[in-house]
């Protein structure tokens, strides 16, 4: 299934770093996120975008993961040549990720 079936997401920017949250609609599905949406997978998934590292933070209380992508915004919002300066569209993109049902 697609991540979109069990989670929602929002992306934000700070300098040249993009942040992407992945939040389970139903908190009982959170372990699935924790198991399958790893920092390594996210880095590979965004290989066309991210030049630096990807870090993952866990928020089990909220059923959410938070990703920080270094070097993902074309040198930073204020000087990027990209159409999507802020990486606003990254949230919609990550929800396309395929993950196992268990």
């Amino acid at each position: 299934m697609k991540l979109r079936d069990i989670a929602h997401s929002r992306s934000g920017d700070k300098g040249d770093q993009a942040t992407i949250s992945v939040i389970a609609f139903d908190p009982s599905r959170y372990p699935l996120l924790e198991r399958h949406v790893t920092a390594e997978r996210v880095k590979v998934f965004f290989s066309g975008v991210v030049r630096g590292t990807v870090e993952r933070y866990e928020l089990p209380e909220l059923g959410a993961l938070n990703f920080v992508l270094q070097g993902a915004l074309g040198g930073g919002v204020t000087r990027s040549l990209a159409l999507d300066l802020h990486g606003k569209s990254l949230s919609s993109r990550i929800l396309e990720m395929e993950i196992p049902e268990t």
């Binding site: 975008v49 930073g76 204020t78 040549l81």
Partner: protein, 468 residues
């Protein structure tokens, strides 16, 4: 099927003014950025039963742009929307006894305060007390010294272009002081966004600013409110998965804050949008790095223990924010000139649109080479195919029915930047078949870098206006 959908209930809006205990204070968020809608702020002031209306309007580089404007005209340098916002909102705020807090002072809070005083006088409110919180401008200090840049680790003296501004993120202290002095309107330059919201709560409840857990919880409140409509259903809707009612009349949020720091996020009755666990969770994590260490001037906030509970329709109660002692240094945003960006776009449709688009990109690159335009960096995109997701991510081999070519380049001179757009436009008569709707632009780059300086080097001070 989404939990966000399940969260929607059929209850009627609770008439919240009857359930709001006297021990709480209601703080409203009237703007999430400078160009934001104004009507929801008026609605919030009119029917939100709020005591404070906050306008957060200062993006990362806005202050550098404002500094340049101020150098051209010493009466400017504040937010270009300040007059429109004040003219629209002052009367209703006056009627309801609502105090206004805003960072619309940008690079010139004093000029912003004077402009607000003039508007107040014209509207027959000559006794309005206005405070300008100053001290964030550390341009002289930073220019004289050499500081390590957060982004690259290089020294501030190695920035590629001329430095145009340096502003420290101040905490809530100056705003609290202005409120204690009785200001009806508090105008700041650069302060931490969340401080605009934590200050009125600190003032009202007399919280100690060394109570780290309390400050941490207050930052959670500020963080949830500072982007206005982004917590009430804006930047959220995804039809079929996450539906949001009436986005054209999106209501802006308010927090009902209690003396123990816990608070409830809600919005004016009858307004569009929604406040749900899902909208609040998304905004809590927005632009957040390590959730256990959200560094602000006043406290290092820890969001990992935050709990959210739905307590009614469009009501989410938030507890559990914590904090640790402030770091003792302040983040400084340095604005600097970084050359120019030139850009051109043109569309192709029908079978072979993508191939013609790629040909167009190749032609522009070759033309710039022949013209001796030296691009420090270029970006070639086919909008509709790869402009958002980057090369190598797209799986589909299917040809799109239309593409929009976008060629952007970073150069050192305005002349070269203009040439980029010109070469795209000239594809009309010199490029592939059927080029349509060409568009071009060139702009100077005001870039931002960050550093940190000790708190002890920065002192806020306040100037009062009005009450004539």
């Amino acid at each position: 099927m989404s939990a966000a959908g399940r969260e929607e209930t059929r209850e009627h809006d609770t008439p919240f003014y009857t359930v709001c205990p006297m021990s709480s204070i209601r703080i409203g968020s009237g703007a999430g950025y400078s160009g934001d809608r104004i009507e929801p702020a008026v609605e919030l002031a009119g029917t939100g039963d709020i005591a404070y209306l906050v306008f957060e309007c200062l993006a990362e580089r806005t202050i550098a742009l404002a500094q340049l404007a101020r150098r051209k005209d010493p009466k400017t340098g504040y937010d270009p929307m300040l007059k429109a916002r004040m003219e629209t909102c002052l009367p209703v705020c006056r009627d309801k006894g609502i105090r206004i807090i805003t960072n619309m002072g940008a690079a010139h809070p004093e000029a912003a305060a004077e402009a607000t005083r003039d508007i107040a006088q014209r509207l027959g409110m000559g006794d309005l007390s206005i405070a300008a919180v100053l001290g964030d401008d550390v341009f002289d200090l930073v220019q004289k010294g050499t500081y390590p840049l957060e982004e690259t680790g290089d020294r501030s003296t190695t920035l590629p272009g001329r430095m145009v501004s340096a502003n420290a993120y101040l905490g809530a202290g100056g705003i609290v002081e202005a409120l204690e002095a009785g200001a009806d309107v508090v105008i700041t330059g650069r302060v931490a966004d969340s401080a605009l919201f934590t200050a009125p709560a600190i003032y009202e409840f007399g919280w100690s600013m060394d109570d780290w857990d309390m400050m941490g919880q207050a930052v959670v409140m500020g963080h949830l409110l500072e982007c206005a409509g982004q917590v009430t259903g804006g930047y959220f809707a995804d039809p079929g998965y996450k539906d949001v009612p009436d986005l054209a009349r999106l209501g802006f949020p308010l927090a009902e804050v209690e003396a123990d720091g816990s608070f409830t996020v809600t919005k004016p009755p009858g307004s569009g949008g929604m406040v749900t666990l899902a909208t609040c969770k998304e905004q809590l994590l927005y632009e957040l790095f390590d959730p256990s260490s959200y560094v602000t001037p006043d406290v290092v906030a820890d969001f990992t223990g935050v709990r959210m509970e739905k307590t009614g329709k469009n009501r989410v109660r938030v507890t559990g924010g914590r904090g640790r002692a402030r770091t003792g240094s302040l983040k400084v945003s340095i604005g600097y000139l970084d050359g120019f960006i030139g850009e051109g776009q043109i569309s192709y449709g029908g079978t072979g649109a993508a191939a013609r688009g790629r040909l167009a990109l190749d032609i522009v690159a070759e033309r710039l080479r022949l013209a001796g335009v030296e691009c420090r960096e270029i970006r070639r995109e086919l909008i509709g195919l790869n402009s958002l997701v980057g090369e190598g991510v797209l799986q589909s081999e299917q040809e799109p029915p239309e593409v929009r070519v976008r060629f952007a380049g970073r150069v050192w001179t305005m002349e070269e930047a203009l040439r980029i757009g010109d070469e795209v436009e000239r594809l009309y008569t010199n490029g592939p078949a059927g080029g349509a709707g060409a568009w071009k632009a060139a702009r100077e780059i005001i870039a931002v870098a960050s550093t940190f300086i000790p708190c002890s080097l920065v002192r806020h001070h306040i100037r009062y206006y009005g009450a004539d």
